[in-house]
């Protein structure tokens, strides 16, 4: 056994660090926090210029052939520095799916500007009436000559206002079983008939509701077979649980430890010397290390030619649930001052603990809820009978 990422990854980590020293501006985090848009166009283009948008892809597809552990090192650095990576994360899912199932023409059209960091993609699965039951989507696509005409509504279309295309799940056949009548499209978000309405969250994030009224899309923008959308979705959903790295919890834990070391209470004692503080920070470190190892196992599965399925679900379930519980504990640990938001001059840890607590709740929902992950672990991992009750 060996738990070190290795020399290649360590070298790449240094490259990423030096890139961030040059390109990460101090106000990047602040701007993401203020606007709720966790995507930075300038930084994203710089990543593209570096060849790092899809660094793991083979060189002939515009990547650098980085192995899963180099990618782990890169993502860890981006996370620890607080780089807003939502745009990168969701776009890679779409691009990988296009690479896996798209036509040659689609690869030529969509992938080069994606790899240069010029465009990002939004995910258009969820609707007002369908979240976890994603195959129940009602947004209609109807064939009209060489075009399709799309009508419907999507919810939580995060970064639609920054994206060139939305990866849209539509119903093309209402007369067959729900999984059998779905088709995927890449819909240009500047097409006539598309409306983007901001939706603001408890975590300060901006997401969107998007509306589609008589939106015309050429058949060339259809991804996968007509009525074969569920197969495409399954490819994309597996990729969705493939972005393994440290979480926000690791960053905030480190900042909290630094703060607790530097800060003294009115009675002169250091915060880090308080037994209640030490116990909480120690327990959170254990949970974070377990999350890191469950993620590392996914990278290992990928590095040895496998596709992390149950392993991915276990990582997603653990990091989200543990982070949610630990963020609540950290807020408690700070007492009344733990309520102060980022921007209040005397907020402990600059209010990032309060922010983590706000944000954590959504991690148990997006990317497949904890209940969806538990279903996957129970049925595919433990062999328990499938059920819907």
């Amino acid at each position: 056994m060996d738990f070190r990422l290795g020399a290649k990854s360590d070298a790449f980590r240094e490259e990423v660090r030096s890139f961030l020293r040059e390109h990460l501006r101090p106000d990047t985090l602040e701007r993401a926090h203020e606007t709720g848009t966790h995507h930075d166009r300038e930084l994203h283009r710089a990543l593209g210029a570096q060849g790092w948008i899809a660094a793991s892809w083979p060189e002939e597809y515009g990547g650098q052939g980085r192995d899963p552990f180099e990618m782990t090192a890169m993502r860890d650095e981006l996370r620890l520095a607080g780089v807003p990576t939502d745009g990168l994360g969701q776009s890679v899912i779409v691009a990988r799916t296009v690479r896996a199932v798209g036509t040659e023409e689609q690869k030529q059209r969509f992938l080069p500007p994606f790899l240069r960091g010029e465009i990002i993609f939004a995910l258009g699965y969820t609707e007002p009436d369908s979240g976890s039951d994603v195959a129940a989507a009602k947004t209609r696509a109807v064939r009209d000559g060489d075009d399709w005409v799309i009508d419907g509504q999507k919810m939580f279309t995060t970064l639609a206002h920054e994206s060139a295309y939305v990866f849209l799940l539509t119903r093309t056949n209402p007369d067959v079983a729900k999984h059998r009548g779905l088709t995927m499209f890449l819909v240009p978000l500047d097409a006539p008939g598309v409306e983007i309405h901001p939706v603001h969250t408890m975590g300060g994030e901006r997401t969107n509701a998007t509306f589609y009224t008589g939106v015309r899309v050429p058949d060339a923008f259809r991804v996968g077979e007509v009525d074969g959308g569920w197969d495409v979705m399954n490819v994309a959903l597996t990729f969705e649980r493939g972005g393994f790295a440290l979480s926000e919890a690791d960053r905030v834990w480190q900042w909290t430890v630094d703060w607790a070391r530097e800060t003294r209470r009115p009675d002169g004692t250091r915060v880090i010397d308080d037994p209640l503080v030490r116990e909480r920070l120690a327990t959170m470190r254990v949970n974070d290390e377990v999350a890191r190892l469950l993620a590392l196992r996914c990278s290992y599965v990928a590095a040895t030619g496998g596709m992390p399925g149950v392993e991915g679900s276990m990582h997603k379930l653990w990091y989200a649930e543990a982070m949610t519980a630990d963020a609540a504990e950290l807020v408690d640990m700070l007492g009344a001052e733990g309520l102060l938001e980022h921007g209040e001059p005397d907020a402990p840890v600059d209010g990032w603990v309060e922010q983590l607590h706000r944000h954590a709740a959504v991690t148990t929902i997006y990317g497949g809820t904890s209940e969806v992950q538990r279903d996957i672990i129970a049925s595919r991992g433990l062999g328990l009978p499938r059920s819907r009750r």
């Binding site: 327990t283 254990v286 062999g383």
Partner: protein, 344 residues
């Protein structure tokens, strides 16, 4: 580069002990041993033929040269079978003694064809007496801290009888004084050696708890597939399936963390002491949560002595508690992660 697979030798080691315990330490034997004070002498003799106290000792000192990771892998199998033999304690004690000046008579008894069992008292003795020593009722050889000294005593047969306890474990108070007491180290050196040994006990006990938890999970999952209520297997109810999914995740996490901790100790990584405490804490939590869920899945039957899951449930609490209150363990982890508190 990251490699989460086992070597061929390790695969072989694991399979050897898995097959051995499956055959030689079935639940009826575990139950009988519990009645007899938590130890089976025949099983001890048989297991020592595969790897006794000196399994993890350097060949130059007469051992088989297994690393802590190798021992951890075996302790997982031991834990899965609840095998009533003090292997973990004996390995830790033998590794401690092997790094000190030789204690010829005692050392010969640990490397004998039928070796004596050995252990380390986890907590410093009070007025020469070490309280509730793991394997204290069956180990002749006991090492421990007595004031400023790291000492070893060797009393054959062991002088203390097991006390009845939650885990059916052969624990007993032991004196670290009297005839034949040998001082192994003094002062800071004594404390450092003892601390290293206790960290090894943490890692190997974590391994046993990982194995215990994995086996309890299997019991729960199998029962959930077979038991029908309302006309369907109870494992099809999400209210149960999701609890099993949660603990399955913890078991995988605990195994990764415990193996990382053993690997880090073998590699002399700087964070090895912190990882030992982390693995011990998390494996304990995992074993207790997993056995609680597995027992609950069995319904009322799980609470009866007839079913095996109660054997796991009781040991999940008992094995780690010998280290003391787990919240104090968390504080010790904090001491390894952060600098010690400033004196007030």
């Amino acid at each position: 580069m990251v490699d989460l697979s086992l070597s061929e030798e390790q695969d072989h080691l694991v399979e050897t002990f898995r097959a051995f315990f499956a055959k030689e330490s079935p639940p009826p034997l575990v139950r009988a041993a519990e009645e007899a004070g938590g130890f089976d002498p025949d099983l001890w003799q048989a297991v020592c033929a595969l790897g006794g106290p000196a399994l993890g000792v350097d060949p130059s000192a007469g051992g088989a040269g297994a690393g802590l990771l190798d021992l951890e892998l075996v302790s997982e199998r031991l834990g899965a079978a609840l095998a009533p033999v003090p292997l973990v304690e004996s390995w830790v004690a033998a590794r401690l003694l092997a790094t000190c000046d030789p204690v010829p008579g005692t050392w010969a008894r640990l490397t004998d064809d039928l070796p004596a069992a050995a252990t380390v008292a986890l907590h410093p003795a009070h007025e020469g007496s070490a309280r509730l020593v793991p394997a204290g009722a069956v180990a002749s050889v006991v090492a421990g801290l007595d004031g400023d000294e790291l000492v070893v005593v060797d009393v054959d047969p062991p002088p203390a009888a097991a006390v009845r306890n939650l885990g059916g474990a052969p624990i007993a108070d032991r004196s670290l004084r009297g005839e034949g007491r040998i001082v192994l180290a003094h002062g800071d050196d004594a404390r450092a050696r003892h601390a290293d040994a206790v960290d090894e006990w943490r890692v190997l006990t974590a391994g046993a708890l990982v194995g215990l938890a994995g086996a309890a999970l299997e019991l729960g999952v199998e029962y959930a597939k077979q038991r029908h209520q309302f006309g369907v297997p109870i494992g099809s109810f999400q209210a149960l399936a999701h609890q099993l999914a949660d603990v399955a995740t913890m078991v995988d996490g605990a195994q990764l963390l415990t193996r990382e901790a053993s690997w880090a100790a073998d590699e002399h990584e700087a964070d090895a002491p912190a990882l030992a405490r982390m693995a011990f804490l998390f494996a304990s939590r995992t074993a207790q949560r997993t056995t609680a869920v597995a027992l609950h899945v069995h319904g009322g039957y799980g609470f009866t002595l007839e079913y095996d899951v109660q054997l796991y449930h009781r040991r999940a609490k008992a094995w780690p508690l010998l280290m003391g209150d787990p919240r104090r363990e968390s504080a010790r982890l904090a001491d390894a992660l952060f600098e010690p508190p400033e004196p007030r």
